[in-house]
C-alpha cells in the first residue's frame, strides 16, 4: 500500500517566542519561531505508518510519501517525518503567506495525480489556521471518497477496502470506504489498537502515546539518506489561484489575571451571570 501524507510545519507552542502579528495587522509573523510538525499531521503519519508495517516485527510493508508545501527550510519537518519511518518526501516550494486551503488542495491534487497513492491520510486541520478545509476540498477535486475524523482504521481482506470509525459530535459512525480515498484523522487514531492492517498481529498493541512515535537515533541517521524531491506548483502543472485573503489579524486581549473566589455553587452561577456574563 502506498500512502501520501501531507504535513505542515507550525509554530511550536512550547517555544518561548510567541506568535506575533505584524504592525499593520495584515499577517502573522514567523520571525524567531521554532517549528514543529502540525500535531494533527503527526497523528496521520502515525496512522499511515501503522497501515504500512508489521508493528510486531517492526518491518515496513508499504510506502509512505510525505509532502509539504512551504519554504525550503520546511524540509527539516519532512526530515523529522522520514526519521519516524516514512520512505521519502516531496517539498513543494511556496510562501506560507501566499497560500489558502483551496490552493493547498489543488497542489495536493497535482501531487496525487503524479504519485497515484492508494490513500491520502492527512490531519483534519492545522493548529495555526484551524480551517479544516483542505482534506475535504482535495477529495472533491479528486472525485474520491472522503472519510474524515477517523478514529480507527481496519483493512478488509481485499486490501483496498477500509472499515473506518469516524468520531463525530453525535457519536461514532462506522463506514466502509474503497480506495483510493482521502482520510483525515482524530487523535483517537493514536490508541494502541486503532489501526488493523492484516499484517500486524491482531492482538498487537502500540504503546499509549499522546503523539506520533519517537524517531530513534537509528531512524534519524537513516533519514539523512532518504530523498526529498523539491518541486514547484508550476513544475507539477498546477496553477492554483488564491480565493481567500485575510484582511486583518488581532491578538486576543490580554487576560486580566483577576481571580474571584466563591463560597458556593449558587454564588458561582450568579457570578458567571453577573460578572463574567458567560451564562
Amino acid at each position: 500500500m502506498k500512502i501520501l501524507v501531507p504535513i505542515k510545519r507550525v509554530a511550536d507552542p512550547d517555544n518561548a517566542n510567541k506568535v506575533k502579528v505584524s504592525g499593520d495587522g495584515t499577517q502573522v509573523t514567523s520571525e524567531g519561531l521554532e517549528w514543529k510538525m502540525n500535531p494533527f499531521d503527526e497523528w496521520s503519519l502515525e496512522a499511515a505508518l501503522r497501515l504500512t508495517e508489521d508493528g510486531a516485527k517492526k518491518t515496513r510493508t508499504g510506502e509512505v510519501v510525505l509532502v509539504t508545501i512551504g519554504p525550503k527550510d520546511a524540509a527539516q519537518t519532512v526530515r523529522t517525518g522520514l526519521s519516524m519511518g516514512a520512505e521519502r518526501g516531496i517539498l513543494v516550494e511556496a510562501n506560507d503567506q501566499e497560500l489558502d486551503s483551496n490552493m493547498v488542495a489543488q497542489i495536493l491534487k497535482a501531487i496525487v495525480d503524479k504519485e497515484k497513492p492508494d490513500l491520502v491520510v492527512m490531519g483534519k486541520q492545522t493548529v495555526d489556521g484551524d480551517s479544516n478545509v483542505a482534506g475535504t476540498v482535495l477529495a472533491e477535486l479528486l472525485g474520491w471518497p472522503l472519510a474524515n475524523y477517523a478514529m480507527s482504521l481496519a483493512t478488509d481482506d481485499d486490501g483496498k477496502t477500509l472499515t473506518v470509525k469516524r468520531e463525530l459530535d453525535t457519536g461514532v459512525s462506522t463506514i466502509k470506504v474503497t480506495g483510493p480515498a482521502v482520510i483525515t484523522t482524530s487523535d483517537r487514531i493514536l490508541k494502541p489498537e486503532s489501526v488493523k492492517n492484516g499484517v500486524t498481529p491482531a492482538d498487537f498493541k502500540y504503546p499509549e502515546a499522546e503523539g506520533g512515535r519517537y524517531a530513534s537515533l537509528k531512524g534519524i541517521m537513516a533519514a539523512k539518506k532518504k530523498p526529498i524531491d523539491e518541486v514547484t506548483a508550476a513544475s507539477l502543472g498546477a496553477t492554483p489561484q488564491k480565493t481567500l485573503s485575510y484582511l486583518k489579524f488581532e491578538l486576543p486581549a490580554a487576560r486580566s489575571g483577576q481571580t474571584t473566589f466563591v463560597e458556593s455553587v449558587e454564588e458561582l452561577v450568579q457570578k458567571l451571570k453577573s460578572d463574567a456574563k458567560v451564562l
Binding site: K36, T80, A209, Y214, A215, S216, L217, I220
Partner: protein, 381 residues
C-alpha cells in the same frame, strides 16, 4: 537555547525526541520519584521503545548507533525537560556498565547482557568502588579465585548506581597480585547464590537513582563471564573513565542550564519592593555571570568531546573539562538557590534539588583532586 558547536540537524532532531520523551514520561512524576527515592523499572522499557536507551552503542549490539556527542545531547534534554536528575542518571547507568562488554566482551556476552539492557529488559550496574578505596582503583580487594570452570568471588562494593535492582554488575575483582596488574572485570549476575544487596544507601542528591552496597560471599561466577583477558581489567576501567568524565561534564552543563532557566523564569515573575526580581541590576548581573560560566564549561566540554571523537582522548583535557563543569555547576546551582530566596531552600522548588544533585559531581567519577592529579601526571609538571 545554547547548544554544542558539534551539533548538526540530527542532533537537533534527537534533542526534540528526547525532549518529547522526558516531557511526557518523566516530568509529570519528577518530584514524586525523587521523593520516593526510586522510579518505576518499567521506564527502562519505555525509554528503549522510544529509541533513546541504545544511543552511542553499535547496531550489532542492539544499539542505535551514534557517538558520545549524541549521548550528551540526549542526556541534556532528558535533564532539561524531565527535571529529575536522579531518574536520568539511573536510566543511564548502562553508560558505565556496558562499554567494557561492548569493547572487550565476547559475542555471547553481548547477546546475554548488552542487548537485553538496551531493550530495557535488564538493569545493569558498574561495581568498582569499595569501602576502603574509591579513586584508588588499583587497591581493589574483592577477590576472585579460579576453581575449575568458575571464579569464586568474595568481597564487597559500595556507591553502586542502580545497584539495588541491577540484574548484573560489571565488577572489578582481584584475580592476580597486588596493584593494577592483578585486576579483572567479571560480569556477576544478581541471582548468583552469595550475591546480596547489603544496603540501599541514602544520599544527599540523585534521590530517584538508587545506590547500593553489594556483598559477595563465595559467589560462583562462570569463567565465561570474564571480560577480555585475566588481569587486564585496570586498563579497561581507565579507558572507560574518559568518556564517563565527559558524560559527567555534560550532565553538569545540563543541570546548570536547567537551574538558570528556572531562575530566569522565577526572576521574571517574583516581585519584591514593587518590581520583579529581574528589574534589579544585581539580579541581572548574577544571571549574566551564571550563563557566562555555563558557556565556558560548555565550550571546554565541546572541545574535549570533539577531540575524543577524533581519536585524541587526552585524559588530562577530559579531567579539566570535568573539573570546570562540576565547579561551574555547583556555583550556578548555589546562585540559583540564592536568587530564589527562601523558596530556594524548599523541596517543592527544583533548584533546591539541583543544588543537592550538583554536589555529587566533584566527587563521582573521580574527585576534583584526582582530576588534578591526572592532569599533573599526564603533563609531567
Amino acid at each position: 537555547m545554547a547548544t554544542y558547536l558539534f551539533e548538526t540537524e540530527e542532533h537537533k532532531t534527537l534533542r526534540a525526541q528526547a525532549r518529547k520523551f522526558a516531557a511526557a514520561e518523566v516530568l509529570p512524576h519528577a518530584h514524586t520519584w525523587e521523593e520516593a527515592g526510586i522510579f518505576p523499572r518499567e521506564l527502562y522499557r519505555t525509554m528503549a521503545e522510544a529509541g533513546l536507551l541504545g544511543i552511542g552503542y553499535p547496531e550489532d549490539c542492539g544499539g542505535q548507533g551514534g557517538d558520545l556527542s549524541h549521548v550528551l545531547v540526549a542526556a541534556e534534554e532528558l535533564v532539561l525537560a524531565g527535571k529529575s536528575v536522579g531518574t536520568c542518571v539511573g536510566l543511564g547507568s548502562h553508560g558505565i556498565a556496558l562499554p567494557p562488554i561492548v569493547k572487550f566482551g565476547t559475542k555471547a556476552q553481548k547477546e546475554r547482557y548488552v542487548k537485553p539492557v538496551l531493550r530495557g529488559e535488564l538493569v545493569s550496574a558498574l561495581g568498582i568502588t569499595e569501602a576502603g578505596g574509591g579513586s584508588d582503583v588499583a587497591a581493589v580487594r574483592t577477590r576472585a579465585v579460579r576453581d575449575g570452570d568458575h571464579y569464586v568471588v568474595n568481597g564487597s562494593k559500595t556507591f553502586i548506581t542502580s545497584g539495588t535492582r541491577a540484574d548484573f554488575v560489571t565488577t572489578a575483582v582481584r584475580t592476580g597480585g597486588e596493584g593494577h596488574g592483578g585486576i579483572s572485570l567479571l560480569v556477576i549476575d544478581a541471582n548468583t547464590p552469595g550475591f546480596r544487596v547489603a544496603k540501599k544507601l541514602d544520599k544527599m542528591g540523585w534521590w530517584a537513582s538508587d545506590t547500593a552496597e553489594l556483598a559477595f560471599e563465595d559467589c560462583r561466577v562462570p569463567k565465561e563471564n570474564l571480560i577480555g583477558a585475566e588481569n587486564a581489567g585496570f586498563l579497561m576501567i581507565m579507558m572507560n573513565f574518559v568518556s564517563e568524565r565527559l558524560m559527567l561534564a555534560g550532565q553538569c552543563v545540563a543541570i546548570a542550564e536547567l537551574a538558570l532557566r528556572e531562575t530566569i523564569a522565577y526572576a521574571r515573575e517574583r516581585e519584591a519592593f514593587g518590581k520583579t526580581l529581574n528589574g534589579f541590576q544585581v539580579t541581572r548581573h548574577k544571571l549574566a555571570e551564571m550563563e557566562t560560566r555555563i558557556a565556558a564549561a560548555r565550550a571546554l566540554t565541546h572541545e574535549s568531546v570533539t577531540r575524543f571523537l577524533a581519536g585524541d582522548g587526552d585524559p588530562a583535557l577530559a579531567a579539566m573539562a570535568k573539573n570546570t563543569a562540576t565547579d561551574m555547576c555547583s556555583y550556578v546551582c548555589d546562585q540559583a538557590v540564592q536568587l530564589h530566596g527562601g523558596y530556594g531552600y524548599m523541596r517543592e522548588y527544583p533548584v533546591e534539588r539541583l543544588y543537592r544533585d550538583a554536589r555529587l559531581y566533584p566527587l563521582g567519577g573521580g574527585t576534583r583532586e584526582i582530576m588534578n592529579e591526572i592532569i599533573a601526571k599526564t603533563r609531567r609538571y
